[in-house]
Structure formats: C-alpha cells, structure tokens
C-alpha cells in the first residue's frame, strides 16, 4: 500500500489568532500518486486548506503532515526545503512579470541552484510539453490567460514535484484553456506519478483518470464516494 503524502487528523485551521475558525476537526489522508479534487462553496475554506498544505498558515489544532513533516512544528529551513519539492499553481498565475516565460518556468531550478545548462534543457522540455516553445522569450503580460496558466503549470512541474497543489487553476480560463490545463495535470499524475491536489469550485466535465473527491462543508471535510 502506498504511503500517505498528506495526513490530517482532527485538523482545525483558523485566522485572526483562532477567533475565525475556517475548518474544524477534519481528518483525511491522501496517498502517493492520487489525484484529489477539493470542492466547496465560496468562502468554505478550500484555499485556506491549500495554504496550510504549503505552510503559509499553521494548524491551530490537530495535526497536518505533508511529506511526513508536521506542518504545525515545521521550522523555516525545513519549510523552504519542503516548498522546493512542491509544485504550486495559483488561480491568478503568480508569474514574475519582469522575467521572461523561460525564466519563470525554471524558477524552482534557479532556487535549487541548478546550472544554466540544466535550466535551459528543462525549460525547452517543459515549454514543449505545455506547447509554449514560441513564447519562451516573451513576458507573461504579453500572453493570454490560458497561456499564462500553462506557464504556471510548467513552473510547477519543473522539478518533478512529489506533490502538486493547484488553487482554482482554471478559475479564470475559458473551456478550451481549462481542458488543456486538466490534460496537463492528468498527465503529471498519470505519467510522472506526482500526487495532485486541486481546489476548485467545479469539477471538470471531462476527466480521464481515477480521482478522489472531497467536499468542504460546514467547516468539515468529507469524501464524496
């Protein structure tokens, strides 16, 4: 049986020093190589859960383990190391607008200190993968929303992460661009073996690989079977 990549036990997440509780007493786990959708109404805490998964907020109560690391007690250095092994995709793309597409794609490799040669090889491969080879030298603001999100996906995949976290990755995109992004994420899970957790307000209409579906409702997290 595959090891758990994420384990949450009696997890409570809150803002405002515990006064505003978003998720309460939630328990769930995600195994290596699984594709997981987390849905729920606006403001239900989907993005908050994702933030907790990459350590932007710490659990108030209970435990949350990502890659075996306790997110309540994780130290800054370990958190940086963990983040360098994650692939994170945002609804608003979060690309560095002063950098070219190619440089944006290899950001995790720059952080990890890979040589220029490795960066260039990886950039070529990834841009070919997301069909943006021609746009390598352009800047994010010169691209359409769908193209920018493909750059975001390429960046997330650049270091072969063990876990990909995507926050509403198709939230700002049209149907065609959304399908391209779903294909890329399916491929990351199916071909590369990454665990993928996607927070979305709506499940995709067409999805070709097995997945698990959690719903956040009334501060709880429940699996839909």
């Amino acid at each position: 049986m595959a090891a758990n990549v994420i384990t949450a036990s009696h997890l409570t997440l809150a803002y405002d020093r515990g006064r505003k509780r978003i998720i309460e007493n939630a328990s769930f786990s995600v195994r290596k190589g699984e594709f997981v959708f987390i849905t729920g109404p606006s403001g239900s805490g989907k993005s908050t859960l994702l933030k907790a998964l990459y350590g932007a907020i710490r659990p108030l109560e209970g435990t949350l383990k990502v890659g075996g690391l306790d997110m309540a007690k994780i130290r800054k250095g370990k958190l940086q190391e963990l983040r360098s092994h994650l692939g994170i995709i945002f609804q608003d793309y979060r690309l560095i607008n002063e950098w070219t597409v190619e440089k944006n794609v290899v950001l995790p490799l720059i952080i990890a200190g890979y040589s220029m040669e490795v960066q260039q090889t990886q950039a070529k491969r990834l841009l070919r993968h997301v069909k943006l080879t021609e746009q390598a030298d352009r800047y994010p603001l010169e691209l359409s929303g769908g193209e920018q999100q493909r750059v975001g996906v390429a960046r997330a995949l650049s270091k072969n992460p063990f876990l990909i976290l995507a926050d509403e990755p198709t939230g700002n995109l049209d149907e065609y661009s959304s399908n391209v992004i779903w294909d890329l994420l399916e491929n990351a899970c199916d071909q590369l073996g990454s665990t993928v957790v996607v927070v979305t307000h709506q499940l995709p209409t067409m999805f070709n690989i097995p997945y698990r579906h959690f719903i956040i409702e009334s501060k709880g997290i429940y699996e839909v079977r």
């Binding site: 803002y15 958190l79 360098s84 092994h85 560095i96 950001l107 952080i111």
Partner: protein, 271 residues
C-alpha cells in the same frame, strides 16, 4: 528613465548623508589641527626655588602635558659674561629653577589664569608667567561654526534618512510580489532579496564614488585656488583615503539595513 529615477531617489539622499559625514570628518580634522596650533603657541614659564617634576606639576594641574627644564648653566653663562669663573659658580648656585610648561589642549585665558594662580600657591614657586597670542575670538567663531554645522548635518541626515525610508517603501511595493512568489517556491531570504542587494550595493558604490570624488576635487582643485588661508594651509586634511573606507562602511550598512527591512516586511504569504 523610470529605473534611473529609482536609482537617483536612493543615491541622492545617501549622498547627502555621506557628504554630511565627510564634512563632519573634515571639519573635525581642521578644528583639531587649529586647536593644536593654538595650544602650541601657549607657554607657561615657572620659576621655582626647588626642583619640580612633571608628576608634581600634574598633581597641581592635570592639563599640564609636558615640562621642559630650562638649563640653568646657559642662563648663568649669559649673566656672568666677562666675570670670573668663580663668580659664575656662585650665580649658578643662587639661580632658581626655570620650567616651561605645555598644556594638553587649548584653554581659555581664564582657565590659564586659574592655572597661574594655582601654581603661584605652590611653596617654592616664585613666579609664573604666561605667554601666548590671544586667538580666543577666532577660536570662539570656529566653535560657533562647528555647532551650526553639526546641527545642519544632523538635520540633513534626518531628512535624507526619511527619503531613503520612502524609497524603501517604493522598493517594497515594486518587489513584494516577486519576493512572495519566490518564497512560496522555497527561496531563501538572500536569494529573494538578491536583486535588491545588487541594486542597493550599486547605488551605494555610486554614492560613495561621487561623494569621495567631490571632496577629492575640493582638495586638489578648488582649495589651492580658493585663497582661503585655513583651507590652503590645511589642504592635506580635506580628504584622506581612510575617509573613503568610512563612507563605504556607512553606505553599505545603510543599504544592507534598507534591503533587510524590505525583505522582512515583504514577509510570509498570508491571508
């Protein structure tokens, strides 16, 4: 154009601080040199029946820095010119001891007068004479200028520091997004703020070079032609190589604290 403006907005206030610091350094050197000259021009002559040592003089007045005993033989020889040798010996035996005293710093006439009175009270001391030009008016003007100048430099540095803080806020806004994205992907602080460090250090090098250049110009070109006695006489004091190191240290300290401040304030990605 925007980038040049961004650099100038940091370089100019930094230069204002550095120029202020350099002015203070130069002014202090010139003042100390002037004080030294004044101090050297002061002499206190003491005539005593018994021999006295520097230690004894310092017990009486701590501002006395050195003592020179005036040779009695020379005085006796001058007095006894054309007189028999035996008489010279008598004169020598009858002569008191003569001392020239030097002070550790330039004191006012009143203070010197107080020292004179103190020395006169010492048993054995027969006479105390003070010689020296009265530079007091010039010196007081110098002190007044020093205070005005210091106040101006402090005010200028404060205003410049606030301008630097303002520019840091601009930097923070401009680089916050990029630094937060890099942090999400696990970049350590030094890597996140690398661009800011490069930018700040370049600006600091420019500011130090320009400030140093201005003072070098003042020293080698303007001062010799100015005809201002105090500058012409003390040209060597106007700019020293070690000043460049002091300016660089101040500039880099300011830049590093500015960048650290921006980086820390950009902080964690939180809702």
């Amino acid at each position: 154009m925007k980038s040049v403006k961004e650099h100038l907005m940091f370089i100019l206030p930094l230069m204002a601080i550095l120029l202020g610091v350099e002015f203070v350094l130069v002014f202090n050197r010139v003042t100390s040199n002037y004080e030294e000259k004044l101090r050297e021009s002061y002499t206190i002559l003491v005539v005593s029946k018994s021999p006295m040592s520097l230690r004894r003089f310092r017990r009486i007045e701590p501002h006395i820095s050195s003592v020179e005993a005036i040779s009695k033989e020379r005085i006796a020889r001058q007095i006894a010119r054309g007189i028999q040798n035996t008489r010279t010996q008598e004169i020598l035996a009858a002569l008191p001891y003569f001392y020239t005293l030097h002070l550790d710093r330039y004191l006012s006439r009143t203070a010197v007068e107080k020292i004179r009175k103190k020395l006169l009270k010492v048993p054995g001391v027969k006479k105390v004479e003070t010689f020296g030009e009265n530079h007091r008016a010039k010196y007081n003007l110098f002190l007044f200028l020093k205070i005005v100048f210091w106040s101006f430099v402090v005010l200028l540095s404060l205003v410049s520091f606030f301008l630097i803080l303002k520019q840091m806020e601009v930097w923070q806004l401009a680089h916050r997004e990029r630094m937060q994205i890099m942090e999400v992907f696990g970049a350590p602080m030094l890597l996140r703020s690398g661009v800011l460090f490069r930018m700040g250090i370049t600006d600091a090098i420019f500011a130090v070079a320009l400030s140093g250049g201005l003072f070098a110009l003042l020293k080698y070109y303007w001062a010799p032609r100015s005809g201002i006695e105090i500058l012409v006489d003390r040209q060597a004091l106007l700019f020293e190589p070690k000043d460049l190191a002091i300016l660089a240290a101040i500039a880099f300290t300011l830049v590093i604290s500015a960048v650290m401040n921006v980086t820390i304030r950009s902080g964690e990605v939180r809702e």
